[in-house]
Symmetry: C2
DNA sequence: CGATTCTTCAGAAACGTTTACGAAAGCCCA
DNA sequence: TGGGCTTTCGTAAACGTTTCTGAAGAATCG
């Protein structure tokens, strides 16, 4: 005999009463409830999750979908992993389990998520790396699964999302460079279909226009989102006849590779080329010269995502104002010397 | 009508046959099986996980238990998070779900795990930050839950574990320092009950004895496992009348704080004090002078843990040689300049 | 051709929980 | 006293799946 039956037998009452006692239902005598709770603590009883999920129709778990480059491309930065740190802490407070949903790069994220949804593995889900047109959103809406997106899409946004404040970053970066006299400013964009690239490009062009600067099309450089991508950016820059005097990067690891390529060419960031990085990583403060970049707390982002997600879940309607969070996550400029050069006069 | 019933109705066969077809049971006509598989793909059917778990008695998920400092102590390094990256990739290959089990620092890890076990949330579990005497191991053995420990314990080891090769690290560090002429070598130990501290201390003393060096008890410095802990180590060193000429750290973030404290005192690592760090982080290669430390792949460690865990699970007896993995994870010396000083003559 | 085996499938039970329903007992009040 | 509440609890059904049991029909064999 196991589970609730054992507990009921031990107390010589019915399993229905045990269940009601444990779940705080009103129609149970207070003394009985206390006896049940005591016995449960004594025997170390906790309800079997599968049985409970099946009956209730909800699993008490939320999923975090990330893309997993299961190959040995070790460039994987720890962005998502840092977010997980915040997520677990916030979800722990509400006794929700977190299941990591790693979608192999070989599989279509939509198909992967569809299987998760069909299995009813989680009650709600966080999707990341949103694409410009992301079918996962239609899927989740149709299945009525609460969700929040980490990243905007190109389509309508009748759903919860949090995204980095690319507009703010682009404006701060361009304003700073423009003030230093730069007129030829390049931008690095990841060469994938993630919406981030489109958003940042638009934001950059906006910022440039705001400062009455024109963007040379050849100065919009597409590269892989990795250290190696930064190296190729260096190649591209060195091959240009009219080289920009500054560049803004959109992926933290790019700075490492770009530094390396510049050093190989005998050039110094902040003297021969102004470099503005993206997210401040553990390494950026140690790069020499120190990289000008933007700071944010991955942990806090995780917490924000958790709260935004809970706000979409009917079960938490009493604890969170229901509705769709739309939030641009602020990033704070960290001044380094990698762009400390004055142009012209 | 939902789930397998819908599929069965659509095909006009019984749900039993549908289930057997999907699960590759032999007693089903091949043409029927094909029809079922086609229909399942068409309708996007995947078996409800709760129903399946309940019936099968296994959940198709493994847990990774970490301690979550849900407070804002942001010092949390990304060690465990890096491991998760490897775990997800390896588990994905076997279609196992990963659920993160964050135990609040306020709760007893044993009680937390007991609840997880009682809920039957996962089929197997990875525990980390093992203590010298870790009751979780008795719990898991008694419940017959397959598990692997990240970290040794002080007790018998009739279970699977993987731990960092602290012995190798201590020996390499001491050998290197001894060759440079150091005789007064200190060691930093975390001031918690995690077994790691005991193991490293023993390994350090072994290594010292091997080089016929004596360990001054005051040179065994206990400090918090954080950057701030490194700072307090600096304080302790500066306050000593007979200061050691070298120190070996056992936690990566300690190096940052120690550097800071030394700099404040006008001292330079590698000139005034030889510093050997522990795990090479993204930052250590950028510290100035470059930190001598030890390299390992968190991702590979995650993969190793996954494989060691699968080897303990009866369900994978055909794919992995069953048995208990006992493995010291090698760490490779990365030479920096933080200990490049010659003592005496 | 009858007996036996094999193939294929339908039906039903079981996993552990929650909850709708109803019943028993106590109470109140006319 | 008896009818109607209220309180408390037991019973049974339901969630979606897998698997056991057995049965019908086809195939094989003596």
């Amino acid at each position: 005999m196991k589970g609730i039956k054992r507990l009921a037998q031990h107390l010589d009452i019915s399993i229905g009463t045990v269940s009601r006692a444990l779940n705080g239902k009103p129609d149970v005598n207070e003394e009985t409830r206390r006896r049940v709770l005591d016995a449960a603590a004594l025997l170390g009883y906790a309800p079997n999750q599968a049985g409970r999920s099946l009956r209730r129709g909800s699993t008490n778990a939320v999923g975090f979908m990330i893309e997993s480059n299961d190959e040995t491309e070790t460039n994987s930065d720890n962005f998502f992993l840092g977010v997980i740190g915040g997520l677990t802490g916030a979800l722990l407070k509400h006794n929700l389990d977190l299941v990591v949903l790693p979608c192999s790069v070989n599989e279509d994220p939509h198909d992967y998520l569809q299987r998760i949804v069909a299995r009813r593995l989680v009650d709600a889900v966080i999707i990341s790396a949103t694409q410009r047109r992301d079918r996962r959103i239609d899927l989740l809406k149709a299945a009525r699964i609460p969700f929040i997106a980490l990243g905007r899409t190109g389509g309508p946004d009748e759903h919860a999302w949090i995204d980095l404040d690319f507009e703010g970053v682009a404006h701060k970066a361009v304003a700073r460079l423009a003030a230093l006299g730069h007129r030829q400013i390049a931008v690095a964009i990841p060469d994938n279909e993630i919406n981030l690239g489109y958003v940042f490009r638009d934001a950059f062009e906006d910022a440039m226009a705001h400062h009455r600067l024109t963007v040379d099309p050849s100065h919009i450089i597409r590269a892989r989102s990795s250290e190696h991508g930064g190296y190729t950016i260096g190649n591209a820059l060195l091959a240009m006849e009219k080289r920009p005097t500054a560049i803004v990067l959109v992926y933290e690891m790019m700075a490492i590779g770009l530094y390396r390529r510049l050093n190989e060419a005998g050039l110094t960031p902040g003297r021969d080329l102004a470099v503005v990085g993206f997210r401040e990583g553990p390494q950026s403060q140690f790069l020499s010269p120190a990289l000008t970049s933007f700071r944010m707390s991955l942990r806090d982002l995780g917490i924000g995502l958790a709260e935004g997600l809970l706000a979409t879940m009917p079960a938490y309607a009493d604890q969170f104002p229901q509705g769709f969070v739309h939030k641009l996550w602020p990033m704070e400029l960290v001044e380094g010397e990698s762009d400390a050069m004055v142009i012209g006069r």
